[in-house]
Symmetry: C2
Subunit: 477 residues, 2 copies
């Protein structure tokens, strides 16, 4: 392929990555033509000169069969790099097409955490075939990494870390790193273990490079390394990494042995996944089954989504049934003053929306910040002030509509109600997530639709109580 | 301080960090006693032997005056480390207490991005005092970093990166790194610039260590470095970092000059902040003014929160006014069959909740995944299938309540309505975020309360249309 054409293709790639769909289509077509013309030289030229992360992104536009038709003409080293960046679902589909031998070679060279993730997705029959073709060490490594449950530090960690011994000199340590570097996830943080494999220190490449070559590792290492446990949630480890500004967190198992590291490049996915789960729960979408983060939602089957959505919708029907019961109870008031129904949507939505706002603020604050009991008294006090001011403002707004529509009496009832429902909704929205959190339940279960429904029930009861009382007292009913 | 007491205090600290409020109180009291007894030796012993990130967390439990009373007895190096971990708001409050001279010394040694963040928060009169006490280079650096607007890569980047020249040997490069390391944010990625300061390559410490000492940098560097622009959003840069698994992204300005780097330790905050903003918008909390991520919500004044919440609440009143208008229009139907009001909350909540679910899924998918037009046709088709099944299930559930409560005719009306409103709500929830995204608006503006309100309006119109038509046809009205 000529330099000029390569440059053209690279420009198309750049535009495609930046989000230009036309360039993407053109690039896909042109690469496709090389494949049809069996110009494998051109395919190799292109795919070896662009970043494997970009290659992965472009390949995912094709069907897996076509993607593999490109990749199989590349050298193993490039194949491995691309596999390290492919989405695991897509990777699994490619893996099911290629021959066992090639897959084994690629998996032997992949980074250990990506490899274990791929392994977990393979169908049972492929797994045993692959395992039997790998070395004993690789086999043990994969089984170990694949054994930790989803969402734990064990499930995201990698075992290709650099381990040093305490009595090596810096020179020996650097020599070992030079030798092992190509196979390690990072050589910038090295972990020092004793003969039992227990973590006793950490030393950075920076410290090794700056230390005197004859000095021993145990004299320059940090003896108090920060670590996580394989059974911790991946989010806890991401938080540790953020708090201490670490590039990698060593992970120990139940016997205090060093078993892996979680590196900075996992943080992005961990936090996004956690935020997505909270987001979904807040929108009343069930938490069980597979996570819908990243491309999960795009690929989820209708059946999975129905399973996640229907239970909540049905449960909320029962909560709203209480609203209906409230209406039934006050049916005589409604029959007497049908005009009251006019304001019903305004009032219950007002309370529900104020509640959804408080709940959203509270749930997110509980998820990201460290709220202590004394903070909470403050928060609750502040919410009362805010709710009162919001309630007053909303009451003024609706009183105008009330006067205009149904006269001064209804306007009075309606604005008193608005004030009360906004305060009621806000306090429920503020309190419920907090109580759930205190009882060690997920605060995001106090989702916006749940808070809205509870506020609705309260709103209806408040509305018709005030209306019945006021209109009776003033002899309207 | 004896080893034993130090160990006790460290154990208290560990428990406090893990979330035990009692240990925190005890630790705070004991440290307080050292201060009262003027045992500064003990204070120094404790604070120099624990991680500065932990120190920062404990100090934030005190009032700023007390926190400074501890910190002022420590050496400058420890002070600087602690300042690098303190929350910027808290730091600003301490900075306003301490004398200008000490503040200038600490700011001179802080990491460049943390320093610029602190500078931005200082009151105007302190700023000029500080600037005049710093060197010209520091002054220029702070002004430059502080000049980028909130939310851009420029505002989170740091200027203390390692720059190399292309014709240095690896040996010379390593020597330079050794010399400069203590002042640099990272030495693991080094950026190669030409004489004009343009970024022409990147080389990792790993590559430098592994290369032959006589080889020149330009032969081992990557000539095609991945970079961001100072005006890009910080989230774009975090995404680049995640996609290419980078530890740091070099940032260039409008003239293509290398001006800073964004490092991996900024990613956590960037993603959490972005997720919080989306979360809040999804709960109808306005986006203007300061962000409420992290401890922002805890510290926000009631007035800020009211400003963020009230406009949405008022705007939604107007949307819900349409619901009321719908009710007014069908007042005669309601007067004839007041029993219909019983089902009103159930039906409109059903549609609203289904809509909130779709919107939540869609907003989050748009924020985290790369949705292309062809995906969207698929998503929309799938949503129709899902909505139909959800609608049918909900219709069956409510028809039982309908038969039990008001006989077969009302049950028929009610289940037809439920089916229609769930489909209507789901499609609105799915379409609106997508349309906002297409028109380059923030999809999260299609918040759950907005979708719920729109679904309410649609639900009321659908309900009473079906009821009027059906009950008229069947001569009930």
């Amino acid at each position: 392929m000529s330099e000029k054409i390569l440059l053209e293709l690279k420009e198309l790639l750049e535009a495609a990555i930046a989000g230009d769909d036309e360039s993407r289509e053109e690039l896909i077509d042109r690469l496709d033509n090389y494949l049809k013309a069996e110009d494998f030289e051109a395919i190799r030229d292109f795919f070896t000169s662009v970043h494997p992360a970009d290659t992965a992104q472009i390949l995912e536009s094709y069907e897996p069969e076509k993607a593999w038709a490109f990749v199989k003409h590349l050298d193993v080293e490039t194949q491995v790099k691309i596999f390290n960046y492919l989405d695991v679902k897509f990777e699994t589909r490619i893996a099911s097409i290629m021959d066992r031998w090639t897959l084994t070679v690629i998996m032997g060279a992949m980074s250990h955490d990506e490899r274990a993730d791929l392994f977990k997705e393979l169908p049972e029959e492929h797994r045993s075939e692959i395992l039997s073709a790998l070395t004993q060490t690789e086999r043990d490594d994969i089984s170990k990494l694949a054994s930790y449950p989803e969402g734990t530090a064990g499930a995201v960690m990698t075992s290709d870390f650099c381990a040093l011994k305490p009595d090596m000199t810096s020179e020996e340590a650097l020599e070992k790193l030079r030798r092992e570097a190509p196979d390690k996830e990072t050589i910038y943080q090295c972990y020092v273990t004793d003969n039992q494999g227990n973590l006793i220190g950490v030393v950075s490449l920076r410290e090794l490079v700056m230390a005197s070559p004859r000095g021993v590792v145990k004299d320059i290492m940090n003896h108090d390394p920060i670590y996580g446990r394989a059974t911790d949630t991946s989010e806890d480890v991401a938080d540790i990494m953020a708090k201490y500004d670490l590039m990698a967190v060593p992970i120990i198992n139940g016997d205090d042995k060093l078993v892996g590291i979680v590196t900075f490049d996992d943080v992005h996915d961990i936090i996004e996944e956690e935020a997505t789960e909270d987001f979904h729960r807040m929108g009343s979408i069930g938490g069980y089954g597979e996570s819908l983060a990243g491309n999960g939602y795009l690929e989820a089957s209708p059946w999975v989504l129905i399973q996640k959505r229907l239970p909540w919708l049905i449960a909320l029907v029962f909560v709203n049934l209480l609203s209906s019961a409230g209406i039934a109870y006050y049916e005589s008031t409604i029959e007497a003053v049908v005009a009251l129904v006019f304001f019903l949507p305004l009032l219950i939505a007002g309370g529900g929306n104020a509640g959804a706002q408080s709940a959203t603020l509270m749930v997110r604050a509980l998820a990201t910040a460290d709220i202590k009991t004394k903070d909470w008294i403050l928060l609750f006090g502040r919410e009362i002030i805010i709710a009162t001011i919001l309630g007053l403002s909303m009451a003024m707004a609706i009183s105008l509509i009330g006067v205009f529509r149904s006269g001064i009496e209804v306007a009075l009832v309606v604005s008193m109600t608005m004030m009360a429902v906004v305060i009621f909704g806000s306090l429920v929205g503020c309190l419920l997530p907090f109580l759930l959190d205190r009882f060690k339940l997920d605060p995001a279960t106090a989702s916006a639709p749940l808070i809205t429904s509870i506020a609705d029930v309260g709103g209806i009861i408040i509305y018709f109580s005030i209306a019945t009382w006021f209109l009776q007292t003033h002899a309207v009913v």
